[in-house]
Symmetry: C2
C-alpha cells in the first residue's frame, strides 16, 4: 500500500479502535456525529492526501483540499486535526524521509502561501479553538480567509503559525517538535501484540495519560484536562476498565479529540513501518 492508502486506512483504524474514551469509535456515536461520518470523511479526504504525497503540490493546498473533501458529510468536523498531522507525515513518507528529522524538514519548508491555505481550511468546518494570544488577534484562525492580508503583511509561514500555537494545541506541538509523540506511540503500537485496533486503543490511553488533551483544555479548562489524564492513567493498559471511563466521559461531555488525532497519526507511522492488519 502507498502512503496515501496508509493515511486513509489510519483514519479508518483510528475511528474503529475502541474504547477511546470520549470519542466516537466502533461502539459509540455522539448525538450529531456518527461513525459513518468518519468513514465518509476518510474517503473524502483522499484527494487532499494524494496532493500531500506529491512534492510538487503546496502542502497548505493539500491540507485545505483534504479538509474540504473530508467535510462532504453531515457530521461537520470529523478529522481536521488528524489531517493536520497526516499531511506533513504523508509528504515525508512519500519523499522517503518518514523520521523526526524528515518531517521537520517538511515543516521548515512551509511558506506564507501554506499558512494562507491553512486559514482557508477553517472555512470548510467548525473547529473548536481557543482565543489567540492578545498580540495575535489579527491571526485568529477563526478569521479564515479574511486573515490573508495580515498573514502576508507579517510574512508568517505555516511553521510559524504552528509555533505560535504549540503551547496550547497538541497538534501544533507535534509540528514544532518533530512529531515526537507520534513516532513514540507508533513504536509502541508496532511492538504491541494483538489486533491493530486494540493496540491503537491502548496507545490512545497511554497518550492521554501522559499529557493533558488540549481540546479538553480548550473546552473545559486546564484543571479538567489534567484530571482527565489522571483518570486515563488509572485505566491504562486495561481496555475493560476503559469501557467504564468511556461511559463516564460521554456523560460528562469530555472529548479528548487531540489525543485521537495523535492516535491516527501514530497509526499512519505504524502502518508505514509494517504493523499488520
Amino acid at each position: 500500500m502507498s502512503p496515501v492508502d496508509h493515511a486513509e486506512l489510519a483514519l479508518l483504524l483510528e475511528v474503529a479502535s475502541t474504547p477511546k474514551p470520549g470519542n466516537v469509535d466502533r461502539r459509540r456515536d455522539h448525538a450529531d456525529l456518527r461513525f459513518e461520518h468518519f468513514l465518509a470523511g476518510a474517503v473524502g479526504a483522499r484527494p487532499g492526501l494524494g496532493a500531500a504525497a506529491d512534492p510538487d503540490r503546496p502542502l497548505g493546498d493539500a491540507f485545505e483540499r483534504a479538509v474540504q473533501g473530508m467535510s462532504q458529510q453531515d457530521g461537520d468536523n470529523t478529522q481536521f486535526g488528524c489531517l493536520l498531522l497526516l499531511v506533513p507525515l504523508v509528504r515525508a513518507a512519500s519523499t522517503d524521509r518518514l523520521s523526526p528529522a524528515g518531517v521537520d524538514a517538511v515543516v521548515d519548508a512551509t511558506t506564507v502561501d501554506d499558512a494562507v491555505a491553512f486559514y482557508r481550511a477553517f472555512e470548510h468546518v467548525d473547529v473548536a479553538v481557543d482565543d489567540p494570544p492578545p498580540d495575535a488577534t489579527a491571526l485568529d484562525v477563526r478569521q479564515g480567509a479574511d486573515a490573508e492580508p495580515a498573514i502576508r503583511e507579517q510574512g508568517v509561514t505555516l511553521a510559524d503559525v504552528m509555533a505560535t500555537s504549540a503551547d496550547r494545541d497538541g497538534n501544533a506541538a507535534e509540528w514544532t517538535g518533530g512529531f515526537e509523540r507520534t513516532f513514540a506511540a507508533a513504536t509502541a503500537v508496532r511492538d504491541d501484540t494483538g489486533p491493530v485496533t486494540d493496540r491503537l486503543a491502548r496507545a490512545f490511553l497511554d497518550l492521554l495519560a501522559e499529557r493533558p488533551d488540549t481540546l479538553v483544555a480548550t473546552e473545559h479548562g486546564s484543571e479538567t484536562a489534567a484530571a482527565v489524564s489522571r483518570r486515563a492513567a488509572a485505566v491504562r493498559g486495561d481496555l475493560d476498565a476503559a469501557e467504564d471511563l468511556a461511559a463516564q466521559f460521554r456523560a460528562e461531555g469530555i472529548n479528548p479529540g487531540t489525543t485521537a488525532d495523535l492516535t491516527a497519526a501514530a497509526a499512519f507511522v505504524a502502518l508505514e513501518r509494517g504493523v499488520p492488519v
Copy 2:
C-alpha cells in the same frame, strides 16, 4: 464524490451497518475475520475500482486488480462478491448509464479476456463456491488461471460465465438480470429514513427475507438457506429483533454473505442517487 469514492464508501458502509445477522459488522467480528480486515480491504480495492471507472481498461482486469488489492490484509476474502457487483456498476456509473439497461450493456460488452481475468482473481483469495455443473468441470473457478486454455477454446466471455452460474449464485444472477435486486434495494434505501447504516441493515434483512442466500445454500444446503430466509422475514423491519437473530446465526455458523454483497451494491447505487451520509 466520484463513483470510485462512492464504491469505496459503499464497502465501508456495508460492513459498518448493523445488525446484518451472520456477517461481520460494526458490532461483530468472526474468529479470523475482523472488522478492520474489511476496512483494509476497502482501501486496498481502490486502484481496481479506479480501473473499473476507466472505460479504456478491461473490466476483468479491473476486477482482478480490485481483488488483489483487497486481499492485502490478514482476513483473506473480505469483499470478493461485493467487488464482483461493484466493478460493472462503477463502469456503468462512470460512463453515465447507471441503470439496469446501462449495466446490461456493460455486462454484454465483456470478453473472453475478461473471463480469464475473472478466473485469475480466484488465485488471490479463498472463495466459497459450489461444484460446477457436470458439463462444466473444465470451467470450475477453483482452477483459477489453469482454466485459461478451456476458456479460450470454448470462447466463453465473462457474461457467459455468469449466465452459467446464475441459478446457484446470487451475484451471478445480478449480472444476468440487469442488477434488478440491487436497484430495487437502492430505491428502498434512498426512500427510507434515518442514518444510512440503519437503512442498509433494514435492506439486508429485506433482501435475505425475499430470497435464500446462495452462500448459505452452498455451505449448508438449500433447506437451511430457505429456513434462514424465513427467520429473516420474521424480524424484517425490526433491528432489535435482528440482534437476537445475529446471535443465533453466529452460534449456528450461518453466514449470508451473498446478501451482504447485494447490500454493498445497493449502497453504491443509493450513494450515486444522493442518499445522505
